[in-house]
């Protein structure tokens, strides 16, 4: 390495580390239900889709966590998107394709994908 630009490039590449190990609440949290019911319904594929999508888009300040059974096993795989300062949005019956749309529309652009939310499902 010979220049400051190269140093900055490495720093950029490593920034997820810094976000991940921060002790703060300013990150968007994506929480995937990973109890037996969730795993059986395919939550493992969902969490992989989330991380792949985040890496592809190089998103900062987003953390991925998992949680246990939310209680609505029939709606699994379930995922919460919690943007700081906003109400939690719960998405149900997820597929990797739906995840991609949620990340681009909701996490990146701030538009909740209403059709995939639990509210939309219950109105059917």
């Amino acid at each position: 390495m010979k220049s400051l630009a190269e140093l900055a490039a490495i720093k950029d590449r490593m920034k997820q580390n810094a976000t991940m190990r921060e002790d703060g609440d300013n990150a968007t949290r994506i929480v995937v239900g990973m109890a037996t019911c969730g795993i059986a319904a395919g939550a493992r594929g969902i969490i992989n889709a989330v991380t792949t999508e985040l890496a592809k888009r190089d998103l900062e300040h987003v953390t991925v966590a998992q949680t246990g059974c939310i209680g609505m096993c029939r709606l699994e795989p379930i995922m919460d998107v919690i943007v700081p300062g906003q109400e939690k949005v719960t998405y149900v019956h997820l597929t990797p394709e739906k995840v991609a749309k949620i990340i681009s529309d909701h996490v990146v652009n701030g538009n909740v994908v209403a059709e995939y939310t639990i509210g939309a499902y219950e109105n059917e």
Binding site: M1, L4, K11, A27, N48, G68
Partner: protein, 598 residues
């Protein structure tokens, strides 16, 4: 870069290595593989988190769950429950982080971390010290880049001077001033050296920084070299720190590979190379002139000053010699500015200080506090107090060169001046807590025993004086002391301080002086009453049976290794004092508290 959804930070500092973190790490990675999570979860081996008493320590992000005393057997449960199913294993959590109403409490809210400010230790327990990219990801080498491309050497020195940073090795000399002297000194060749010869018993700040964040020291030395015009540096580290040496060598190799050490760094024409020099573990080599002697390949003995190393140091050339912790502060000061640093601390002592907390305290470990908080806050809040319901008696700072701070000065704000005023010193940062069961004559003897062993022998006040002083203390603890011995002890202590060649001798009698100053009654009890109030000095105590409590169970007689307890079953027993070796086993084993120390 691959994105991991979870980072598992596992402490791999010396403390946790000793408590078995390698076995935990192996088991953990095997479990991850078994459930196919190795591509989703990243395991990072870091430096010291500070809470060594609870090692091996594991933190899992993004939740920030702090698992303490993790065993290899626990790994399956953590992987299956936490990482696979997202259920935190609460039985393994550090109890302070569990709070009933809100569930998991942030680590920075716990008593141990709440009052800490981590500057020198900022990356310890956060990054993998063996991966240079991790350091760079946390602003690493940005300070060096800034200094080389945007600032002149004298501007760098001005920033360090304005920050108020003082040497963390113990003496507290202003770092910026030291750099300025070396920069102004005439010489065709100059050197930057790092003093990592940490020798105080109970001190391990420098070791932890080298283990947890070696690149910070390398970066700081490069900045110092630029400021004074040096192109060669040496880190003098003791061979007894194998993990620190190993990681530092990896860090140096990586920095060279990246062109952050070597020639034409950041295309500015600045050259700097760095090498490790291993010390054999002589305490005197922590003294700056002896250390430089040792790097030159000579016997590690001090010489008189002036000339100071800044003018005439290594190989007779101008040399800056800084302590590890001092250096670890430098990159942050360069990045965040002098004002940020000087906003912490007291009027004359700026910034933070790392202490190795040990002795009779609950949270044994490594802490970094802003200057000016009180000893009480360190011991009671951060340290969790004295265990087993015992009373705080005194704290020793500065190791064998420092002094004790008694309970009456418990509220003294910690900085260089205040500690000196109460007869102790900052020292390199060892802080040993003593409770009511510690005998202050015995403690003074312990520290003096260390300096007697470690005196290099070059000057007679230290070589002979400390030995004679030790003999006086031995006489007192064995019950043969006379009143005039106390006078002699005081006089000799002062003579040694005044006439020794280097700091080792000049400070050797500090523990004796300060402990006598605050605990005169205890010394007098040894001499006049021939008793040891704390019940430590064996020659001055005896074990006796309390007849009213003894039921004659015969346990004491059975366990006595000297066979000196006699008595029939269901009869009161008796200890034969002339045969007793005072091992204390009988008192420990008696279920009826019928044996006491007198």
């Amino acid at each position: 870069m691959e994105l991991y959804r979870s980072h598992v930070l596992l402490c791999a500092g010396t403390g946790c290595v000793a408590s078995g973190c390698h076995a935990v790490s192996d088991a953990f990675e095997a479990e991850l593989k078994a459930v196919g999570l190795e591509k989703e979860v990243k395991v990072v081996h870091t430096g010291c988190f500070g809470l060594c008493a609870l090692g091996p320590i594991m933190i899992i992000y993004p939740e920030g769950s702090f698992y303490a005393q993790v065993k290899a057997e626990d790994c399956k449960e953590i992987v299956d429950e936490h990482l696979l199913k997202g259920r935190i294993v609460s039985r393994l959590l550090y109890h302070e982080t569990v709070c009933e109403e809100e569930g998991l409490k942030s680590l920075s809210e716990t008593g141990f971390y709440k009052k800490q400010t981590r500057v020198a230790l900022r990356n310890c327990g956060v990054i993998d010290p063996e991966v240079i990219d991790e350091y760079i990801g946390f602003d690493g080498y940005a300070a060096l880049g800034k200094a080389l491309t945007e600032m002149t050497p004298s501007e760098v020195i001005d920033v360090i001077k304005a920050s108020g940073l003082r040497g963390r090795g113990g003496a507290g000399f202003p770092t910026g001033l030291k750099w300025e002297f070396a920069a102004k000194a005439e010489g065709d060749q100059k050197y930057v050296c790092c003093n990592a010869d940490e020798g105080d018993p109970g001190a391990f700040m420098d070791r932890s920084i080298l283990e947890g964040d070696p690149h910070a020291v390398i970066e700081a030395m490069s900045i110092a070299a630029y400021a004074i015009g040096a192109n060669q540096g040496y880190v003098y580290v003791r061979a007894e720190y194998p993990i620190a040496v190993h990681r530092l060598q990896i860090a140096i190799d990586q920095a060279k590979e990246y062109g952050l050490l070597g020639t034409n760094i950041f295309e500015t024409g600045f050259d700097f190379d760095l090498e490790i020099r291993l010390g054999a573990g002589a305490f005197v080599c922590g003294e700056e002139t002896a250390l430089l002697m040792s790097i030159e390949g000579n016997r590690g003995e001090p010489r008189s000053r002036p000339p100071f190393p800044a003018v005439k140091g290594l190989f007779g050339k101008p040399t800056v010699l800084n302590n590890v912790e001092t250096l670890a502060n430098i990159p942050q000061i360069m990045l965040k500015g002098a004002d940020w640093f000087s906003s912490m601390g007291t009027e004359k002592s700026k910034g933070t200080k790392v202490f190795a907390l040990g002795g009779n305290v609950t949270n044994v470990g490594l802490v970094e506090i802003p200057m000016g908080i009180t000893l009480r806050e360190i011991v009671e809040e951060i340290g969790g107090g004295v265990p087993n319901g015992k009373k705080f008696k005194a704290a020793q700072t500065g190791g064998p060169s420092g002094g004790c701070i008694p309970a009456e000065h418990f509220d003294v704000p910690i900085d260089y001046e205040n500690l000196a005023a109460v007869g102790s010193m900052m020292g390199s940062g060892g802080l040993i807590v003593m409770d009511e069961d510690n005998c202050m004559v015995d403690m003074a003897k312990f520290f003096l025993d260390f300096t007697v062993e470690e005196s290099c022998g070059k000057c007679s006040p230290c070589r002979i004086g400390t030995k004679r002083l030790y003999e006086i203390l031995e006489k007192i603890t064995s019950g043969n002391g006379e009143l005039e011995d106390l006078e002699k002890m005081e006089m000799l202590s002062n003579h040694i301080s005044l006439s020794s060649l280097c700091a080792l001798g000049q400070t050797a009698s500090n523990p004796v002086k300060s402990m006598y100053r605050y605990f005169k009654d205890e010394y007098k009890a040894h001499v006049i009453d021939k008793t040891c109030p704390a019940g430590v000095c064996k020659d001055l105590l005896k074990y006796v049976v309390v007849p009213e409590k003894c039921i004659g169970c015969t346990v004491c007689a059975k366990v006595c290794p000297a066979n000196c307890i006699s008595g029939a079953v269901k009869q009161v027993h008796e200890i034969n004092q002339s045969e007793c070796i005072k091992c204390g086993v009988c008192m420990e084993k008696c279920k009826f508290d019928a044996i006491i120390k007198q």
